[in-house]
Symmetry: C2
Subunit: 460 residues, 2 copies
C-alpha cells in the first residue's frame, strides 16, 4: 500500500483501520466467498472523514475499492493487497423522511431493507426490491444501478434517486442532494455516479423518492402456448392493468420443468408441458377493485388464447409458493452444477430466436449441455444458466462467447442489471462501440485522472 496506516488512523481512529486477520476474515464478495485480499480496510464515520481519507489517498496515489453489502455478482468488490478497501458500514443512518414530499434521505451504507421498512412505517413505499435486500446497501444499489423485480412498474435504482452526495477521487465532496422531481438547473451530476460501479466517485448519501403504497397484490402463474402469445400477453396485460402491472416474470419451459418435474423441488401448480410460464403481479391500492381487474384481465387472456392455463394465488402462502419456483436459485445451481450464469438484455421480439440458437450451439458443442432461461421479460432482461460439464475458465470463456457474441447484432447488452465489474470487462466491447468506450475513458480520466477508484473495474 502507498498510504501509511498511521495517516488513516489519524483520520478515522485506530479501531476503524482493519488489517491482518480482520481483513482476511472478511469475504471478498457473496459469490466467491474468498477472503478479502486488501492491504487494509478503513471505515469512515461520515462524509467528512471519507473526504479526508480520499484526499490522503489522492496525495499518495493510493488505489481504493469501495465496499457496500458485497452482494455483487461481477467481482466488482475484489481488492488486491496493494489496494485499500473503504467500507461504508458505519454510515447507515436514515437522516430524514419527508412525508409531504415523499422523500427519504439516507447514508449510503444503509441496507435496502431498512429503507423499505422505514418508508412503510410512514405509510409510503420504497419500490426497489431484490433478493439481497437484507444485505445490499443503498450506496451499492446506486453504484450498480440495481434492478430487481419491480422495474417494469417503477424503473431501476436510477429512477428512485432524486439527489446524492459523492466524494471524488481527490477528496472533494460534490453534494447534489436535490429533493424535487424536477430540477433542470445545469447538468444532472448524480447520473455520473449511478451505475458507474464506484469508478467515478464514492456515493455517501442520497435522497430517494418514495411512492404511494400499493398494499394489495394479485399474483398468478399462467402458461403460454407460444412466444408470440407471450409477447401478446405482455402487451395485453400492460393495457388491461394500466399502471398496476407490477411484475411479468417469465420462465422458459426448461426452467420450470427442471425445478418441478426433474428435481421435484416444487409441486407444479400448472402441468409442466407448456413452452412458457409467467408470474404476473398487479399492485393496487384497493383490494376488491384490484382483484376484479386482475381476474377480468386473466379471463380475457384465456378467452383470446394468449394463455392456456392459470393459477391465481388465493393467499400469501400460495403467492410465496409461486414465487418460490422463480426464485429457487439454489435448486438451479444444484440441478445444473457446475453452472455458468449470465444476465443479458436484448429486444424482446428477438428473445426466442436468440435462446433457440444458443441452445443449438451449446448442444452441438457439448451434447449433454443444458440451457435454462428465466427473466424479467418486460424489461428485456434474461437470466441464462448453462450447464456444460465444467465451470473452469476455458469452458467459461467458450460459453461466454456463445452467450455474448450474438447480442452484438441484436443491439443487446452483456449486462442487464449486474454491471460489468471485472468479470464482464473482456466482453464490454461486444455491446459498446469503440466511440462509447472512448467516451467512458474520457469521463474516467476527467474525474479520476490517477485511476484510484475501483481500478480495472468496467474499464481497463
Amino acid at each position: 500500500m502507498q498510504i501509511p496506516l498511521k495517516t488513516l488512523r489519524a483520520i478515522v481512529g485506530a479501531p476503524h483501520v482493519l488489517t491482518g486477520d480482520d481483513v482476511s476474515s472478511r469475504r471478498e464478495d457473496w459469490m466467491t466467498g474468498a477472503p478479502c485480499q486488501a492491504g487494509a480496510i478503513v471505515r469512515p464515520a461520515d462524509t467528512e472523514q471519507l473526504s479526508a481519507v480520499m484526499h490522503a489517498c489522492h496525495e499518495s496515489r493510493q488505489p481504493i475499492v469501495t465496499h457496500g453489502g458485497l452482494t455483487g455478482l461481477v467481482h466488482g468488490a475484489e481488492a488486491c493487497p496493494d489496494e485499500l478497501v473503504i467500507s461504508l458500514e458505519r454510515m447507515t443512518a436514515i437522516e430524514e423522511i419527508d412525508r409531504v414530499g415523499g422523500t427519504l434521505t439516507v447514508q449510503a451504507g444503509a441496507p435496502l431493507q431498512r429503507v423499505q421498512e422505514a418508508a412503510r412505517e410512514v405509510g409510503l413505499q420504497f419500490p426497489l426490491d431484490l433478493g439481497a435486500r437484507g444485505s445490499c446497501t443503498i450506496g451499492g444499489n446506486i453504484a450498480t444501478n440495481a434492478g430487481g423485480v419491480r422495474v417494469i412498474r417503477y424503473g431501476m435504482m436510477r429512477q428512485q434517486v432524486l439527489g446524492l452526495e459523492a466524494v471524488m477521487a481527490d477528496g472533494r465532496v460534490v453534494s447534489s442532494m436535490n429533493r424535487m422531481l424536477k430540477n433542470n438547473a445545469g447538468f444532472d451530476l448524480k447520473q455520473l455516479f449511478i451505475g458507474s460501479e464506484g469508478t467515478l466517485g464514492i456515493v455517501t448519501r442520497a435522497v430517494l423518492r418514495l411512492q404511494p403504497p400499493t398494499p394489495f397484490e394479485q399474483t398468478a402463474m399462467v402458461a403460454c402456448p407460444s412466444f408470440d402469445a407471450l409477447t401478446g400477453l405482455l402487451s395485453q396485460m400492460g393495457k388491461a392493468l394500466g399502471g398496476s402491472l407490477g411484475a411479468f416474470e417469465v420462465m422458459w419451459q426448461n426452467h420450470y420443468h427442471l425445478l418441478t418435474e426433474t428435481l421435484g423441488r416444487h409441486a407444479p401448480p400448472i402441468a409442466p408441458e407448456h413452452p412458457f410460464y409467467v408470474i404476473i403481479e398487479s399492485l393496487g391500492s384497493d383490494a376488491e377493485r384490484n382483484a376484479t381487474q386482475f381476474r377480468e384481465a386473466l379471463e380475457s387472456a384465456l378467452e383470446s388464447g394468449l394463455i392456456v392455463d392459470a393459477v391465481l394465488a388465493q393467499s400469501s402462502t400460495q403467492r410465496d409458493g409461486l414465487w418460490a419456483i422463480r426464485e429457487d436459485i439454489e435448486g438451479l445451481v444444484k440441478g445444473l452444477a457446475p453452472v455458468l450464469t449470465f444476465d443479458v438484455s436484448l429486444p424482446i421480439a428477438e428473445m426466442q430466436r436468440y435462446t433457440d440458437a444458443l441452445e443449438a450451439q451449446l448442444t452441438k458443442r457439448w451434447p449433454d449441455a443444458r440451457l435454462v432461461v428465466f427473466g424479467h421479460l418486460g424489461d428485456g432482461n434474461l437470466h441464462i444458466s448453462v450447464s456444460a460439464g465444467s465451470a473452469e475458465l476455458p469452458v467459461r470463456r467458450e460459453v461466454e462467447a456463445m452467450v455474448y457474441q450474438p447480442l452484438a447484432a441484436l443491439g443487446g447488452s452483456v449486462s442487464a442489471e449486474h454491471g460489468i465489474g471485472l468479470e464482464k470487462r473482456p466482453w464490454l466491447s461486444t455491446c459498446r462501440s469503440s466511440a462509447e468506450i472512448e467516451l467512458m475513458q474520457t469521463l474516467k480520466h476527467a474525474l479520476d485522472p490517477h485511476r484510484l477508484l475501483n481500478r480495472g473495474k468496467i474499464l481497463s
Copy 2:
C-alpha cells in the same frame, strides 16, 4: 465566422447553407420573436453530414448553436453573428416502431406531436406532453429534459429515453441506441446529453420508450381550504388512485381569481374564494373502473374535509374548460402586463411559506405588485408570475433576486423544467454549489475543450 461557407456547402449542399435574409427572417426563439443573428444556418440531412460539419467546425474553432423547435424559454437558442446555427429541421424521420418492445426510434428533428401520433397509431402512447407539442422537437425535449403535465405519472423526458446518438464537439459520433429497459454495460452515456442543453453534444437520434395506452381520462377541479389540506389531498390521491394519478395541477387563489373574477375570461366552475384550486386527472384503461375509482376518491376527500368543493368533468368539452383556466397563459400575460415569469422547484412542504414571503417582499417594495402562482405541485414545481410595473432589466433583476435567493436555504432550484440557457446563468450558483459547478466545468472541458457547443449557455 471562422468556418468558410464553401466548406459547409461542400458537405450539405448549397441550398442547405442559409445566409443573409434567410437567416434574419427566422426568429431567434419563440419568446423574444427577435430575428436570428447567426452568421449562417446549416441544415444537415443526416448524422453523417452533421458529423462532417462538426469536424470542420472543430478544425476551424467555429462555435455553433443547435436549433430544434425554438420553443425554449431561457434564451438557449440565441446566436451571435460569429456563430453558426445547426438546424435539425431536415432530420425528422420516425425510423422504426417496435410494438413488442414498446420502442420508437426517431431522428432528433421530429416534432413531439408526430411522435405522440405515431405511438397512438400502433395502440401505444408516448406520454411526454406539453403546450409546445406541435413545434418542439424530440431533440430539444432531450436537450432540455422537458417536463410538462404528465411528470407525476411518467417522469420527465429523461425517463422516456432508452438510447440516443449524439455528435460530439469534434465530430465523433457516439451511438448508444439502446432499446432495452435495462442495460448496465458501463456508464450510461446518454445521461450526459439529456438536459445539458446542447453544451456537451448534439443529439441526432433517439430510442424512446412507449407506454400502454390510457384512453380513459377522469378530470375534476376541486377547491382546498388550506395548504395542509392541499398536501394531504396529494398524498391521499396518490394512494387512492395508485398508478393512475395522471395530473395534480394547482392554482393558488391569486391565479384562479385573476382569470375568472378579475378578467372574466372564464366562468368560474367553483366559487373563487378558496385558497387553492386543483385539477386532478386519473388515466385509466377501463372506462367504468376508472370513473368509479375516481369518484370514490373524490367523495372520500370531501368527507374528510381535504376538499370543500368539486366539479367533475362530464364531457371532454367540460374537461377542456377546466384545463383552459390552468393553461390560459395569454390571459395571465394580459392581466399582469408587463409580467415577469419564473419556473422554480422546491420541497412541497415549503411552498406556502415561500410564496407568502415572496408576496410580502414584493408588495413591500412595490405596493401595487401582484403575484400569481400555479404549477405542478406533485413535482415540486411552481410557475410564478410577477407584475411589478416594469419588465425592464433593473426591475427584472430585483424580482429575480426575490424569487431565487430564498430557494438556496430551502434546497430549491432556479429551474424546474425550463433549463438555464443564458437567462438563468447568473443565478445558477444560487442553487448549485461551487463544487457542483466546478464538476460541470470539468465535464464541459472534457467533452468540448474549445467550448464550441452552445457557448455561454448554462456555464460561462
